[in-house]
């Protein structure tokens, strides 16, 4: 009823006003709507989710360490967001196409990225490593919000091709302020495109609390665009999986776009260059530490007697292997040759750049001799 006055009071934003299947103590909460979407998740599957999160956390820790050791120029940690990333990403089919932003370590992990993919860009060796078509995942986007439109365009293409794939875009709470993200909702809604928007509301955009972007629940914005949405506990991997399965299913069935707001927390700094003590309370961080996405799955599994020492050891070993692999991919990186800066600017011959490249090649050739002479 848009023709009666809507309330003028600001809706309160409560981080606990979320769909949830596991509480902080790891107790399973029934949810009539979401339960069907995770009916198949047995202990084995749950352990799989736990393992994913543990490995992602390890990759993240390794990334931070490598940056501290001067091996990476930068790292954008995802600690605290493992459930959001793993839970949502596990809802895709491999032939769905995902447009992540820079912090989606867990999404890329689930999509099939290999160790070097996590570090070489932050090391400054390449803007991207994997071929997007190999893992049906675009290279992580740095321009805030831009990828949301790419996902919509890709989804329009799916529609035209008549397949039942879906596309998805990941972005942050800060990103919701960008025109692009809103235009993406307009386009998705108008074309009923099979796209899912995943907003990782980790409470912060660098130093700005989410209230600078939105004095209202972000998930409440999508319905205004005609897009159904769901606000989910982003530290509850089961709820994230269920919500995302609902959303993906919705899009896959031809019902158009869907929107997920995963309410979580960025435990670390924005990037390794950031100093969060300048702008946020230790208390807040501590409060969220008690909501750790891994511990609550562990608690559930333990309560079910499904968290064996064997499993624990295996996960630790796998994590160590991943950590080691990431590290060695980083340390063994080969820096490309100077002349390769000219590669792939264009797909076809380019008279201007080809000449410039030749000129630079001549410069590089002469350089050694000249250098010696000086």
């Amino acid at each position: 009823m848009t023709h009666t006055l809507t309330p003028t009071a600001e809706p309160a934003v409560d981080v606990d006003d979320v769909a949830r299947l596991l509480n902080q103590d790891g107790e399973r909460i029934a949810d009539r709507e979401l339960d069907p979407y995770v009916a198949d998740i047995d202990a084995e599957a749950l352990r799989g989710l736990y393992r994913d999160m543990a490995l992602v956390r390890r990759i993240d820790t390794e990334g931070v360490a490598l940056q501290r050791q001067g091996q990476l120029g930068l790292w954008a940690p995802c600690q605290g967001q493992e459930a959001t990333q793993v839970g949502t990403a596990r809802a895709f089919r491999s032939d769905d196409f995902v447009f992540p932003s820079y912090r989606e370590i867990g999404v890329n992990f689930v999509r099939g990225a290999v160790p070097s993919d996590f570090v070489l860009a932050w090391r400054g060796e390449a803007h991207s490593t994997y071929n997007p078509y190999d893992i049906n995942t675009a290279t992580p986007q740095i321009i805030i919000g831009a990828q949301s439109l790419h996902a919509v365009g890709y989804a329009m293409g799916i529609q035209f091709d008549g397949t039942d794939q879906v596309a998805a875009a990941y972005f942050g709470d800060g990103a919701t302020s960008q025109g692009d993200v809103n235009e993406a909702m307009v386009f998705a809604s108008s074309f009923r495109a099979p796209v899912v928007f995943v907003c990782t509301n980790n409470q912060w955009a660098i130093s700005e609390p989410v209230t600078v972007q939105a004095k209202f629940p972000i998930a409440g914005r999508a319905p205004g665009f005609g897009i159904p949405s769901l606000r989910v506990d982003g530290n509850d991997v089961l709820a994230c999986l269920a919500a995302m399965r609902w959303a993906v299913d919705h899009a896959r069935r031809g019902n158009g776009p869907a929107f997920i707001e995963a309410v979580t927390y960025r435990m670390g700094p924005h990037t390794t260059s950031d100093d969060p003590t300048r702008y946020r309370d230790k208390d807040e961080v501590e409060r969220w530490r008690r909501r750790d996405p891994l511990t609550r799955v562990e608690a559930l599994l333990r309560a079910q007697g499904e968290f064996s020492e064997d499993f624990e050891r295996q996960v630790a070993a796998d994590a160590d292997r991943w950590g080691a692999d990431v590290r060695s991919a980083c340390l063994s990186a080969r820096t490309r040759e100077p002349i390769e800066v000219f590669d792939n600017v264009y797909d076809e011959p380019h008279v201007g750049l080809d000449a410039q490249r030749a000129q630079f090649a001549a410069y590089l050739d002469g350089f050694a001799g000249e250098e010696a002479g000086r």
Partner: protein, 353 residues
Amino acid sequence: MTQLTMAKSINEGLRRAMADDPKVLVMGEDIGKLGGVFRVTDGLLDQFGAQRVIDTPLAESGIMGAAVGLAFRGYRPVVEIQFDGFVYPAFDQIVCQVAKLHYRTRGNVKMPITIRIPWAGGVGAAEHHSESPEAYFVHTSGLRVVAVSNPQDAYVMLRQAIASNDPVVYFEPKRLYHQKGEVDLDVDLADAPPMGLARVAREGSDVTLLTYGAQVSTAMDAATAAEDDGISIEVIDLRSISPVDYRTVAASVRKTGRVVVTHEAAREAGVGAELVASVTEQCFNYLEAPPVRVTGHDIPYPPAKLEKHHLPDLDRILDAVDRVLDRPNSQTGREEWGSLESGRGAAVGGSRA
């Protein structure tokens, strides 16, 4: 061969590109039922349907971003920006995504997007409807930029732009839309001159006149007028303004030794600056006089009734021709940047602190 307006030849280019390749689609504002505000997409909706002729919501960044996603999916989107002055909301997607994704993904993701822009002034339009933003795109590495001057080129170069795996910004001079010319729609596209090649529109020996788009006809008129004064002007239609075919340009300059460049866009850091700088670098020893630029002033596009004083017309071109030939001209006896020599303090601005 048939007589077609430029609008119609572009329309045919789109139609045939779409018929030949199911991955080609067109998208933009009002391009469906209306056939575009210039009727360039007329009839395409009927022929190809709403999935290939897409009326989009009114948001240029959205259009461009969606086109990027479609390119990711293997489509070859041809995007229409309704008017030159409305491309700026899409600038971020063009500069950071369209131009860079191929580089970013080390060649794995192609961006075969053609951005059609009805372009430039001289049509008495309202603000924002007569702009010449081409230099922004020329300065953006990763894009190709072409500007057409006649119906035949419009047809062929559009086909080539759409066929290119690289993103191409394709400028269509609005004031030529309704001008007719001979068009061979059955030309063998593989045999036609590639869009990267410049064309000597008129041969001459005294002065090389470099231009593109609608200014080509003004330049041709100037060359005809100059002939009466015994001045032989070689007019080069650059066609591609990024990259520029300097082989053709240099051959001409080495012959004439004198260069005039003309375009509608503002002068400062415009395409003309690049042309003068490159020609000077490459042909310095052949130059008999400093190249002169005849361009729009460094002002926002003025109101329609004043645009004729902004646009470089035949007389301003001829005045510049006189300058490079050291004949009497409007600036004779004036010191270059004369005003610079006086009033150091006041004239430089920004000193009110």
